[in-house]
Symmetry: C2
Subunit: 414 residues, 2 copies
Amino acid sequence: MASKKASRRGFLKAGAAAAAMSAMQSAGAQAAVPQAQPQKSLKELVGYGERSHFVTSVRVPVVERPSPDQFGLIFHVLTPLQDQVGSITPSSLHFVGTHRGSIVPDFDPKDYRLMIHGMVDRPLEFTMDELKRFPSVSRVHFIECLGNHSRPEYTTVQQTHGLTSSSEWTGVPLSVLLKEVGVQKGAAWVVSEGSEEVKGAGSFRLAKAMDDCLVAYGQNGEPLRPQQGFPLRLLVPGFEGIYNTKWLRRIKVVDRYYMTYNDYGHIQKDEEIAALTFQWGPKSVITFPSGGQQLPGPGIYQLTGLAWSGGGAVRKVEVSTDGGQTWKEAEIRGAVHPKAHTRFGMNWKWDGQECVLQSRCIDELGQVQPTRAQLAQHFKVTPDYYKTHGVQGSDNMIQPWRVASDGSVHNAIA
Amino acid sequence: MASKKASRRGFLKAGAAAAAMSAMQSAGAQAAVPQAQPQKSLKELVGYGERSHFVTSVRVPVVERPSPDQFGLIFHVLTPLQDQVGSITPSSLHFVGTHRGSIVPDFDPKDYRLMIHGMVDRPLEFTMDELKRFPSVSRVHFIECLGNHSRPEYTTVQQTHGLTSSSEWTGVPLSVLLKEVGVQKGAAWVVSEGSEEVKGAGSFRLAKAMDDCLVAYGQNGEPLRPQQGFPLRLLVPGFEGIYNTKWLRRIKVVDRYYMTYNDYGHIQKDEEIAALTFQWGPKSVITFPSGGQQLPGPGIYQLTGLAWSGGGAVRKVEVSTDGGQTWKEAEIRGAVHPKAHTRFGMNWKWDGQECVLQSRCIDELGQVQPTRAQLAQHFKVTPDYYKTHGVQGSDNMIQPWRVASDGSVHNAIA
């Protein structure tokens, strides 16, 4: 029936080594023999399951900030994107970006309060129970830290792109709460404040607050994780990470932009640059093959990666296997949500020659992910700028990976 | 601006007790004071995060099977649906249904093999690495055990409905693998076999195998959890749980139905009953308010729950607050995927009088979730049958919850 077609596909013939067993009668003898699992606690067996001891994927600190316990002041850890499948980041592996007073606060939700005040008719303080009296919604969104960028000295996709993760968030639309308190005439901005020592504040326009922001208490079906702001954080979908205020305690409605301790040069002479530093552009990265990985030899592989955009849903992803000379559309291999990680993939036959792989995202606005040269032009710097500096504005440049003829994979951003 | 509208909404006026603070200048004094989190291991802080110690939601064993360590033979634990938000079940809280040899096998993925044989041109054995050479896809699907049904003596939604969970699964479409091995003329069924002592086999039609089944190695972004079949399980979307073979070791292509140790009366005289025991009908349940919960008093609440169907996507969910006399359409409050848990909700004003709440799911095929009487009629038993017996066929009957005038909530199935 399907044999000829299957033969033409030839996934295994072209590299993998599945054994054809023409005379097989019964598989009993060949199949792996199950072993009893090592002794597990009743908690694990019944209450709250754990992952296999064979699964060891972990977050790692960013290179320049090796440890969170050095004064507890700076704490950035990276999602292992190279090990992830699908589009949901496991909550235990969600990146963490916290600084300037980064000890994870430990709130008893019973005592927790969110205040909304400023230019409103009825300033209100909400308990967690009260927040749950309002209509909630669950949506999948990525969060990405402005600090996410590729440097030549970074070797893996965890290092170049690990400050982004995607979750199903549940919470009350901020618009619902703002209608409850009654926004006054003349109000134009909101300031959200967290609970760190420096309060982790951010200012953004009221129009965004009324659009798609969430006051979130749920993450992937559970309450927020402590490192993600338990019991309450703000979701400002598509905006850079710092706006997604953790341990959210206050929202103040105001009439102008408020500069906060968290401003990363948002006050810019160039309006275009200032605007771009709020919202992430279209972005993508190949997670396999990616830096530090090793291909066993020529053959057919599943090239795969993630794409996302602060501008909305991913419309398509293109992949180049020749250093950007030609591009081919990849398959979308999972759900597509606005402002969420989107899994893509394609069959890729590696002939054993050195080559450069890269992907680019095109979002629903028609925005195309730029090369480093294009991004430099946009920000009015030379491409060499990025060899020694971090990016100016959010870095959504195309990430090239070089596959050497020995199958090793390297960061080709330099 | 929005004040009059907000006032009319009056979520808080009607019961919750948010304090209006008209003269508030600064919230500093009132807001909760963050405490440093109790000492955490570096593993938790960096490598693999954990949930808050204030979050204590756990799975529990089914009432009749109180412990998994009693001979290790029967092991059913229930997802705490009453605590869940959104539509993704956290992997640590996914239900477990295992019996007849239920010790969780502990496979090293390096040694693992899947065999596909029987009426095929090229019987093949696949390693995990080889499987990952094939195109994969990620999809959200529920799994539900046939044992999921409401008995009058069950008090909570965890007990009545906790044998269903929903995850983002990642794997290779079974159709791709079947094309690779080449299905022969005359083949009509497949038998999948797991690794438990009794092999956990199931037979289903080749048409289903070629449709939407997955050979899954990923769950919510990570490798499968051990209790979910690490490193490999079958997903047979919409079919009862037993078909979703865990620790999948063999798939045999055959020409007829094979009876296995896992048959739960699939061999029936009545063809319609036999067919229905494969695929779940449209189903839903209110998770708040649900049995065992306590409303603090009259007021406005967010009634919420989950809906799903083996027949495809949920088209709409209706809710009755008067024991089924009248129905009102609920809001869908999250993503809608075929054969996946779908979150619904609605504003509900409780006046303090006794009432009966229930929901019903209508799926994309137009199928309507039945009452107990309708299900009994369908299966040709009296409604009283369900007072003393489990269901015949899959139980997708409407679940009523009675809210007493003191705010306590009770199972009203009896």
